[in-house]
Amino acid sequence: MTLLTIENLSMKIGAVEILHDVSMSVAPGEILGVIGESGSGKSMTAFSVMQLLPDAATCTGAITLASTDILAASESDLCTIRGNDVGMVFQEPMTALNPVKNIGDQVAETIRIHEPGVSKAEALARAREALDRCELPEDRFPLTRYPHEMSGGQRQRVVIAMAIARHPKLLIADEPTTALDVTTQAEILTLLKRLVTEDNMGLMMITHDLAVVSDMADHIVIMKDGEVVEEGPAATLYKDMQHPYTKALFEASSHQPDRNAPLKSPPLLQVKGLIRDYTLPREKLLKAPGKFRAVNDVSFEIRRGESLGLVGESGCGKSTLTRAILGLEAIQDGEIILDGAPLFTEGGVNPMARRKMQVVFQDPYGSFNPRWKVARLITEPFHLLDNPPTGLAFETAVDQALISVGLTPDDKHKYIHEFSGGQRQRIAIARALITRPDLIILDEAVSALDVSVRAQVLDLLAELSEKHGLTYLFISHDLSVVRTITDRVLVMKAGEIVEKGETESVFDTPQHPYTKALIAAAPRLPDDSPADIKETA
């Protein structure tokens, strides 16, 4: 018996077809993984089940949830079904909760909306039970807690508690762990699996990350451009995949750019005993404000031509460290030496040292002034030069930078909103390259990209490093990416480097318990995935 059946669902918004002939089903106690890149229609499929679609949307086909025809149901019936039969968990736990209500009230509210007869005390008792089931025990998380007092993972547990409080038959989770750290992600995935078994609930798990669903889903559907391109039982799909897109997706997920091992060369960047303190807000008028040590006694070096990874979860101090290396924030103690010259001198940041490094940030949307054209955007670092090129030399530099990242010279006349996420990240790399720096700091530079685009950008980075002898400091929370592109890796926790070494040896034989936990928590594709098969063949 199936719980949810979607048959030949097509959905249009205005004249644009968003979904085409989508079919899938979920049985009670089954986990269905819906995988696709941005724009594949995976979230729209989920919204169709709830009928939470934009006004102009029209659906054809059939959606049956526990013998109710969703497409024929009235709005009031749908209201009963939402939250009653279907629970939903979204990606962003920071915005999914109401900041002015405590968690007990929020969970109790979902119960009382659907069961008006329930007294407040009973609703709160049931809220307590739901939170307990989501591993938020009463002694540490009383009902009176507010969302801002909790971490991202704990808030996501509250969101899940709200979704399961009424024991729905179907739970839809839309990228529930994308915003979370890997160790937290692993805990949330375990929790979801346990709840599915306990309640015999169907789970529709929507994600862009193949590895996340590979070891938890029973059945997998792969979507592209609003269509289902491949589906099958999770256990066999990895071996039997037919569609070229599925294969490409798998390859991209475990993509390994071609890189040569670096030569033993002198160090380019040396960081010695770096300390960075933040002043906390003053608690009492006459009491000296406290200090928070974000980076504590960090020392490392990067050799010329090498690619060094810096791994850690949010709040570990890696962004603070990046800003210190870039000379954006003053340091309290220690030394940063770039190519033999200290970064911080008496008169502030040494411009000669600053000229030798550039940065690429994570967000392909926030990294550019929306009012500038590409030519002006990518030449901003020319400000560092004493004699920036003008006239023809300027044009040539712009054209070369764009060509070297796989774009065309004509792109320089466009505004940034005319480009996709992957193209924007290429433009960010062009901007970083234009002054021919020695060191490029990549701060989560590929984290916001779809896997296939990510693979292309990683290839580009490997190629550029070869061509221009670039040195990379690669900062990421994504272990699989760090593993593919770095020679050595540093693991950072609570402002300190807890482990460092050759990338392969750290990943294969981690020494520090934190590194071990990180590696164990990272989701992995099955070992016999085609990427491995290809390598051995």
Binding site: L326, P351, Q358
Partner: protein
């Protein structure tokens, strides 16, 4: 850009209203139906009828002519006052945002609070009372109260921009806070400033009318909408049109500017813009 602007009904309606008054003010420089200082007692207190389209006042001056010249005064005073507020307030706001949390940020923003703490019209009356009633002093008095408005709105908009990655890359490129403020921050808070500018413009017109009403604005024989209202007070029962027309002139100018401001805000707000298309 102009096409999207004109698609907004609010903006277009506001623009038409403002253009009517601006045009009247411009024409008044070269031509008015009658001289505004021509006392003509035989024709005093005429009701609106040709050739005195809007009637005459107690000295026989043509009301239409006075409203046309009065538009000139109102627009000039409000425009310069907004200009003063922007020229001083925007750099202060940019500086406060660039040095967030510093001593100077505190000095600038607490100074703003101080100005905000006094009711603006009362202080404007105080200033003009001390330094003498004149158009210049009215402009300065109104302008001072525009400074904290623009400083605050600039700082608020700029603070969120300073967190953006493109500001970080500009800093990595070694640009100074002043240069970043000019190149990156100012163009991106311009939308906010234009919208606030139209609102302050309409408040300026009201403030000028208020000051003139109590006799602290431009001095006779230069007509002003506010003083026309004040002078018509005693005649409100015998010749109500005398108060009606300058009152309507103030109403429609302020309405026009507010509609333009609303339209501009809708157009610059990406969320509203998306809902429109």
């Amino acid at each position: 850009m102009i096409r999207t602007l004109l698609q907004s009904r609010n903006f277009t309606l506001g623009l038409i209203l403002i253009l009517v008054f601006a045009l009247a003010a411009l024409i008044s420089f070269v031509w008015t139906p009658y001289a505004i200082d021509g006392v003509d007692i035989p024709n005093k207190l005429r009701t609106p009828a040709w050739p005195y389209v809007l009637g005459t006042d107690q000295y026989g001056r043509d009301v239409l002519s006075m409203i046309m010249v009065g538009a000139r005064v109102s627009i000039a005073v409000a425009l310069v006052a907004v200009g003063i507020g922007m020229v001083i307030g925007v750099p202060l706001g940019l500086a406060a945002a660039a040095k967030k949390g510093s001593f100077w940020d505190e000095v600038i923003m607490r100074g703003n609070d101080l100005v905000f703490a006094f009711p603006s019209l009362v202080i404007a009356i105080l200033i003009t009372a001390i330094f003498g009633a004149s158009a210049i002093n009215a402009i300065i008095a109104i302008g001072i109260f525009n400074i904290p408005v623009f400083a605050r709105i600039t700082r608020g908009g700029a603070l969120s921009l300073w967190e953006r990655d493109y500001i970080l890359t500009a800093r990595v490129a070694g640009k100074t806070p002043t240069r970043i403020s000019m190149e990156h921050i100012l163009p991106n808070v311009m939308n906010l400033l234009i919208v606030q500018g139209t609102i302050q413009f309409s408040l300026g017109i009201l403030a000028e009318a208020g000051l003139s009403f109590v006799g602290l604005g431009v001095q006779p024989p230069m007509p002003s909408w506010g003083r026309m209202l004040a002078e018509s007070q005693t005649l409100i029962y015998s010749t109500p049109t005398l108060a009606l027309f300058p009152g309507l002139a103030i109403l429609f100018t302020v309405l026009g500017l507010n509609l333009m401001g609303d339209g501009l805000r809708d157009i610059f707000d990406p969320k509203v813009r998306k809902a429109r298309t």
